[in-house]
């Protein structure tokens, strides 16, 4: 059996996205299913059209299943419908607003709540904190909503609105985080805590804090559990990173495919939720295993031929 995963970033551009694909590949290999990958760089303006083209290629190649990462919940509805008309089951990471066989959704909001609660446990009541938001992507929005919810429920004082452009890292890279952090540091002369929404943003934030001469003023927590963020935790530069178990997310998506293709389960709009993950702190950082050691990083097979 051969399946097609329409990946969202070129290999090497984002370690988390790479690790997710390896988790998916590993689970499918265990079940004797081959994974092929077509990569569409979603940073390019015509990515929606290219995503539809990749799906058409999969249909033409008669793949046994399609796996698609949903960024815009309304797209690529027509291409997916065409695949399903030809009897090709479709699985998605995140849930679209069109019918598919099964979707894996993420507990982003819960991550945000627990990150905020952890930060609150390190700070006095009503301590002043700021949050750096991310791009207009479902996962990141839900995460930031959870952070805001957790900050407020924990009795901390939220100084900024992470949904306005000034306090967001819309590029989702470290440099964007650095710029957003500079804007926050300029606006708020004192911070007890700062939550950059993800690790890349946190890494840029650390640079901005050093440049502003405010090292040691505030405690930080971010999300993803990337190796660089864990290093920052070990070095005492950040207090925590929420490890989202990205290879586990890939494996969980693979499990849905295996249930349908090998177990012959009839899945119609099935929803599964990714594992919660855990917070990596200075206390437990020694137990952290890099993503690359959790599943074999066998080279992914790009293309359908």
């Amino acid at each position: 059996m051969r399946t097609l995963y329409v990946n969202v970033l070129p290999y090497g551009a984002h370690p988390g996205i790479d690790a997710l694909a390896h988790g998916l590949d590993h689970r499918l290999r265990q079940a004797g299913i081959e994974l092929r990958v077509l990569t569409v760089d979603v940073r390019e303006p015509d990515w929606i059209e290219k995503q539809a083209q990749a799906i058409q290629q999969g249909i033409a190649a008669h793949v046994d299943a399609l796996i698609v990462y949903v960024l815009d919940p309304t797209q690529p509805a027509a291409a997916i419908a065409a695949a399903q008309e030809r009897g090709i089951p479709v699985f998605t990471l995140e849930r679209p607003r069109y019918p598919v066989n099964a979707s894996l959704v993420y507990p982003n909001f819960n991550h945000g709540v627990y990150m905020a609660e952890y930060l609150a446990s390190l700070l006095p009541p009503a301590a002043q904190v700021a949050v750096i938001g991310g791009p207009e992507v479902i996962d990141d929005i839900e995460l930031v909503l959870g952070i805001v919810h957790g900050v407020k429920q924990s009795g901390l004082t939220l100084l900024n609105d992470p949904f306005i452009a000034r306090y967001r890292n819309v590029e989702d890279v470290a440099e964007g985080g650095q710029e957003a952090a500079h804007r926050i540091l300029a606006d708020f002369p004192h911070l007890d805590g700062l939550i950059p929404f993800n690790d890349e943003t946190m890494l840029g934030t650390l640079v901005a804090i050093e440049e502003a001469g405010r090292t040691g003023e505030m405690k930080l927590v971010s999300r993803n559990g990337s190796p660089k963020a864990v290093e920052a935790v070990k070095a005492g530069r950040s207090q925590g990173t929420w490890d989202i178990d990205i290879t586990g997310i890939g494996a969980a998506a693979g499990e849905l495919v295996v249930r349908a293709l090998i177990g012959r389960e009839i899945l119609q709009g099935e929803l599964a939720i990714a594992a919660l993950g855990r917070l990596i702190t200075a206390e437990n950082a020694h137990t952290y295993r890099p993503w690359s050691e959790r599943v074999p990083h066998t080279p992914l097979q790009e293309g359908l031929h």
């Binding site: 849930r95 607003r97 959704v105 507990p107 982003n108 909001f109 819960n110 709540v113 627990y114 609660e117 446990s121 929005i141 839900e142 909503l145 959870g146 919810h149 429920q153 119609q268 709009g269 099935e270 929803l271 599964a272 939720i273 594992a275 919660l276 855990r278």
Partner: protein
């Protein structure tokens, strides 16, 4: 059965079918592993419930139970008695995660539920429709669900007509009777409502009665959460458009499985957190595939007291 576990249930039997199903799901897995479940009911709506819960935990410690299970409504409550139980070597497991250390917790994807519920309702309504949400008693899981509902509705082309975090629009009792005041409030304030989301099925049942009395039940599409038998019946009769089945018995089995891993498998947990199933929206279109909670696990009568 050589091990005995204590569960402090937050409502008496039959007050909320989802809470009952969680207990039966928990018991189902524990029984299968040869572990006995004892239940002390501590109705969270009653005065003195805090003392009652505390005494129940102390009783569990005195009885040297193999584990204690709590349903967390206030994440800060019972820090001390739980710490004492753990210090006495009794592991503590919780439904919903508290703000203090326990061995393991099951949490719910409440926010995701709220978002998916909103998306389903919106798929039934034309652009510009006005939607109301009746909130709950501001427990952890209810507040998260309402946050998901608000998020889903605010991102849509429909209008959220009220603030479901305002106690005026909340069912603070978490039972059908508590839906009356917020529903009457909404009906008095709003001459037209296109969609209504009572945050759970019990609230929906109370709201439905008010709407029928006011002759406005056909004006709006209604959805709620839990997937309780009475709500599924309302879907079947076309009185509501859907109920999100949160797989209440599955919540219980999820925690039960973690407990068995510890009590029988010797696995050690410290602040371990796992997710309950997502569930699904039950509508007229998929009712034929739906199985009641009582058919998913064995509903052996619960044994009260120690």
């Amino acid at each position: 059965m050589n091990q005995r576990v204590l569960y402090i249930n937050p409502l008496p039997l039959d007050a909320n079918p989802a809470i009952d199903a969680i207990a039966y799901g928990l018991q189902h897995v524990l029984h299968a592993a040869g572990i006995e479940l004892r239940v002390i009911f501590a109705d969270f709506r009653e005065r003195g419930v805090h003392r009652h819960c505390q005494e129940a935990i102390e009783a569990g410690v005195a009885a040297k139970v193999a584990a204690i299970v709590l349903y967390v409504l206030d994440p800060s409550a019972f820090r001390e008695p739980v710490a004492q139980a753990r210090a006495a070597g009794i592991p503590v497991f919780t439904f919903v995660r508290p703000h203090y250390p326990v061995d393991a917790s099951v949490i719910y994807p409440n926010f995701n539920h709220g978002v998916f519920m909103a998306e389903y309702l919106l798929s039934l309504l034309p652009a510009g429709s006005g939607v109301c949400v009746i909130g709950g008693p501001n427990t952890v899981d209810d507040a998260e669900e309402v946050a998901g509902l608000v998020f889903g509705l605010k991102r849509s082309n429909c209008k959220l007509l009220n603030d479901p975090e305002n106690p005026r629009y909340c069912n603070l009792l978490d039972a059908a009777a508590g839906a009356r005041e917020p529903t009457l409030q909404l009906l008095a304030e709003l001459p037209r409502i296109d969609g209504l989301v009572p945050y759970n099925d019990e609230t929906m049942l109370g709201a439905l009665q008010c709407l029928e009395e006011a002759g406005r039940v056909k004006e709006m599409k209604i959805i709620s959460r839990n997937g309780s038998p009475a709500a599924v019946q309302a879907v079947r009769e076309g009185r509501i458009a859907g109920t999100w089945d949160l797989d209440a018995s599955g919540i219980g089995t999820t925690l039960g499985e973690v407990m068995v891993r510890h009590l029988k498998g010797g696995e050690q947990f410290e602040e371990f957190v796992t997710m309950s199933p997502v569930g699904q929206m039950i509508t007229l279109a998929n009712l034929d595939r739906w199985r009641p909670w009582a058919e998913r696990v064995r509903w052996t009568p619960l044994t009260g007291g120690l």
